[in-house]
Amino acid sequence: MKYEFTMPSLGAEMDEGKLMQWKIHPGDTVTKGQVVAQVETTKAVVDIESFRSGKVLELLAKEGEVVAVNHPLAIFEIDEDQEIVTGGIKMDSPAKEAEKNTPEFQGVNLREAIGKAMARSKKEIPHYYLKRRVSLDLLMSWLDKKNALLSAEDRLLIPAVLQRAICLALAKYPEMNGHYRDGKYVPSSDVNMGTAIALKDGAVMVPAIMQSQKMSHSEFNRAYQDLVVRTRQGSLKNSELIEGTVTVTNIGDLGSDEVYGIIFPPQVAIIGFGRIRKEAIVADEQTRPGFVIDLTLSADHRVSDGLLGARFLNEIDKKVNDPESL
């Protein structure tokens, strides 16, 4: 394939070089590292080498000619399969700055900023709270069977599956999703599911899985893991931090059985799930040990009420216990 041999930059302050002498002729073969020409820079006459092996097709620059850095000097024919180590990038690709990952909390200590938002939320938003214990035995056995067949990367994680169930339930109960702004409720067709993620230094961030309603359960599963990894690396997008329409928090995983969240303004609901644990279950007159989890809902009374909230939790329970539907 054609390869353009260009005037190399040999120092920060060099922007052109004078081609003094060619050491190669059209038709010659060139090996990597071979000196192919001499170039005069402001400092001295310097040998320049080829970084590719191949055949010289054409010499573009004439001896004595001044050529700008990166401008072509010659054309080589190099063999295709030569694994070019530096071939994976474009040499003129510009570098851009990382996105600021916490626009709202810029310069402000994260914990403080969240504290302020919570205080505002507690004051302004009339919360109502509901709890429901959900059995997970069915889900667990389904998961064990599924994961046994799936590859490592595709393993289904319980927190992701539970959030997936919530996402589907929200389709039936849209009043739990969206924003409350300037005195009125603004529903949202998208479910941007905010996920509370604890960082190593203890601060909590709530980035959202954007448009989670469009995802398949494996896509959702991968999006969930990707979000956690990127949160910890601090490489989130602004939109993921601002445009959440509902939030789920499973901070219970280490500590308490139940977690009552405070709604993240301007959202209208937050669902919490506590620790997965074994409890005595009474079913058809017998008690047996079974996996359970406590789901809690804190929602905005200006948008929905306890009755709707209870049906919403019930819908989540139905989804969790019908894993195939996820």
């Binding site: 920060a12 310097v46 970084f51 990166n70 070019i84 180590v85 994976g88 570098a95 700055e97 990382a98």
Partner: protein
């Protein structure tokens, strides 16, 4: 050295050689800027010495440090991203080629001031001795550093206070453009070290077997006596001092003569004689290295620049456990 050790040495030397060649190319394409000092020709020293260390030992080197940084544990990705000046660089793009750091890998940098690392290695050794951490401390520098005042001061203190440092002088015959004969009255560097009542030895820096053997002896002495040891590695850099050096100070013939003693080719020949190395293995090794470096270059180029609003971060370390409020 057994077969696997020789294979590891060959792999490491070739990884360093290829990485430096890639850096040279990327410099000509303006992806890498600033100063760039390549290690091509001297690979046996860094590979031989550092492969005898373990993860918790301290290494402090100079601005010609890519090999030491890579072999002490900094990934080629983190190094390449640093040379590209990106946030995922091992120094977050703040250091560049001359200031690669990794506290996790106990690599305390390059340093652009000749011999500035030599006294610091004394402190690292003293701290390890006092905290009973049993870390070895290895300090790399060029023969040019031996003309610096602080070098004399440090050697005196190292010997006086029995500080267990392995001083590795990479004598490549030229301090930038000044040859050894024109910079040192006493060119027998081993004699120079012995003036400080310090154990010293000379090593053929182009022969990995000599490097390993003599370094092992030095490390055993240090572990036993907890005293410093000076090794002079006679080696040579095949490329100019840095990218913009017209190389008027040495002849082409001299360079070609030393190239015939390339440490990598020497090891390959030896291994083939023991028929523990086939061309097929060499091709595999090259493919593996090319893949690693290709991935490192793509990683570096896709890594972002640090957010400019973070410019003033990390000038000072935050005051964590202070009992009083400060206005920092």
């Amino acid at each position: 050295m057994d077969t696997s050790m020789q294979m590891k040495m060959l792999m490491d030397m070739r990884r360093v050689r290829k990485m430096e060649e890639v850096c040279a190319e990327l410099y000509t394409k303006e992806k890498i800027r600033g100063f760039l000092h390549l290690y091509i020709g001297q690979e046996a020293v860094a590979a031989g010495v550092i492969n005898l260390l373990n993860a918790k030992d301290n290494v402090i080197a100079t601005y010609r440090e890519h090999a030491h940084a890579l072999l002490k544990g900094i990934s080629s990705r983190a190094i390449m991203a640093e040379l590209f000046g990106r946030i995922d660089g091992c120094s977050k793009g703040r250091g560049g080629s001359m200031h690669l750091y990794s506290v996790e890998n106990r690599f305390f940098g390059g340093g652009a001031i000749v011999a500035s690392g030599v006294p610091q290695s004394l402190g690292l050794a003293m701290a390890s001795k006092r905290l009973k951490e049993r870390r070895r401390t290895v300090c790399f520098f060029g023969e040019g550093a031996m003309a610096e005042g602080v070098f004399h001061e440090s050697m005196n203190i190292a010997s006086l206070w029995h500080l267990p440092v392995l001083f590795c002088c990479e004598n490549n015959l030229y301090a930038m453009g000044t040859s050894l004969m024109r910079s040192q009255s006493q060119t027998d560097l081993v004699k120079r070290a012995q003036v400080y009542v310090m154990e010293a030895n000379r090593v053929d820096g182009m022969n990995i077997f000599d490097v390993v053997e003599k370094t092992k002896q030095a490390l055993e002495y240090i572990d036993r006596e907890s005293k410093p040891f000076f090794l002079e590695f006679q080696t040579y850099r095949f490329r100019p001092h840095s990218m913009y050096d017209p190389e008027k100070y040495r002849g082409k013939a001299e360079v070609e003569k030393w190239k015939t003693r390339c440490p990598i080719e020497a090891l390959e020949k030896k291994m083939k004689e023991q028929n523990i190395l086939s061309d097929e293995q060499l091709r595999d090794m090259d493919r593996q290295i090319d893949q690693e470096l290709r991935d490192a270059v793509i990683f570096a180029d896709s890594s972002a620049l640090e957010i400019s609003s973070d410019l003033e971060k990390d000038v000072f370390a935050p005051m964590k456990d202070q009992a009083y409020e400060t206005h920092l």
